[in-house]
């Protein structure tokens, strides 16, 4: 499968900076997937589960609020935080925790 360079930035530093095959984030209107060769796009990202698929395997995350930008071949995700999760269920649980009111 063809791949594209993905960079995920948080205030804690880059979380992902590698070639990946697909990316799924929770966008403003629901789940949003990006594959190689996607049209240029900017989208808002809300707190929710996300997935990064690369040749080495699939990694689930909880992504914080921010934006997703597809610019040429580069995909840049600028978010508040990114936390690794075991699987989709765990990611959903961690999302709920992240959204707990103060």
């Amino acid at each position: 499968m063809s791949s594209f360079p993905l960079r995920v930035f948080t205030p804690e530093g880059p979380v992902v900076d590698s070639e990946v095959e697909s990316l799924v984030v929770t966008a403003f209107t629901g789940s949003l997937g990006v594959l190689a060769g996607h049209a240029p796009m900017i989208s808002a990202v809300v707190v929710g589960p996300g997935k990064v698929v690369s040749s080495t395997g699939t990694q689930w995350y909880v992504f914080g609020e921010g934006t997703l930008e597809v610019r040429g071949p580069d995909v840049v995700l600028l978010i508040d935080f990114a936390e690794k999760a075991e699987n989709y269920e765990a990611a959903k649980a961690q999302t709920a925790q992240a959204l707990l009111p103060e």
């Binding site: 880059p14 990202v45 103060e102």
Partner: protein, 292 residues
């Protein structure tokens, strides 16, 4: 005069103290390095956000987002006070506390309502019963903050600003100048000052016209601007962390030096006491021999 045994006990306890303080100093030094590294990474993030804002909308204007809009009269102010959770870091927390007390004193009579939020146990336990506490962010580790913590704090501060009628949100935290010196500084957080956002490294690319945007560009900005607030909060948290470790490093270095001096002093006194004991014994023997 204390006996030789007492001196020995004192010296060995001082030696243990230096072991502890020297270790604490080394631990703080390594944590400080990590905190400074995080600060650098946070700056990279802010740079990326600024660049994206620039690409989308060019200049940021104050009417773009409610977080940028200042109210005309300031009546209610929220001050977020950053301190550490743990002590043994010299004047680090005391400086902040003194600064906050001066602030309260200065604004006692001008009719502005001041409320306080606390990050770090030290500040909270001092002010708990002295000022109006709006919130204490209990579970934020002052020694190793996570950007998720900053995101949570930002959300609640935004709510305070937009919904609970606070006209200003300020942050009182130690500015990290060097491991030897941290200066308490009062920053304004909300309304977000747009002149705070210049970035000299911006690329001047024209915004792309045929780019897909979801939601539309204007709304996207309202998603990006709070990122800058998060960054500012996170940066303050990191500055606080770096300051805490720096202050502790300095304090522990001083403690080690002081303890070493005391050891030297006490060793001298012990030797003197030993010499005195030997002399007394000799006199006793000699005078005993003479008497025969």
């Amino acid at each position: 005069m204390p006996s030789i045994k007492e001196y020995n006990r004192k010296i060995s306890s001082l030696k243990n103290t230096t072991k502890i303080t020297r270790t604490m100093k080394m631990v703080s030094a390594s944590k400080l390095r990590r905190a400074q590294e995080s600060q650098r990474k946070a700056k990279d993030f802010a740079h990326e956000v600024n660049q994206l804002i620039h690409r989308i909308g060019g200049q940021v204007d104050s009417d773009m987002h409610p977080l940028l809009q200042a109210s005309e009269t300031v009546q209610k102010v929220l001050v977020v006070v950053f301190t550490s959770d743990k002590g043994l870091c010299g004047g680090f927390n005391n400086n902040i506390i003194r600064h906050a007390e001066n602030l309260i004193e200065e604004h006692k009579d001008d009719g502005v309502e001041y409320q306080f939020a606390f990050i770090g146990r030290r500040g909270y336990s001092h002010f708990q019963k002295r000022v109006k506490v709006w919130k204490f962010y209990e579970d934020i580790p002052s020694a190793s903050p996570h950007s998720k913590d900053a995101s949570r704090v930002t959300r609640s501060l935004e709510k305070a600003f937009l919904e609970e009628g606070f006209d200003r949100v300020m942050m009182l935290c130690n500015e990290f100048v060097s491991p030897l010196s941290q200066i308490p500084h009062l920053h304004s957080l909300l309304p977000l000052d747009t002149s705070d956002l210049p970035d000299e490294m911006l690329e001047t690319a024209a915004p792309d016209a045929d780019i897909l945007a979801e939601p539309e560009m204007g709304k996207l900005l309202s998603f990006l601007i709070p990122r800058l607030v998060t960054f500012k909060v996170f940066y303050a948290l990191l500055e606080n962390t770096a300051g805490e470790h720096g202050a502790r490093m300095t304090a522990m270095d001083n403690a080690t030096t002081n303890a070493s001096n005391l050891i030297e002093e006490n060793t001298l006194l012990r030797n003197r006491a030993r010499q005195a004991a030997i002399t007394t014994e000799l006199i006793e023997i000699i005078s005993g021999a003479e008497a025969l």
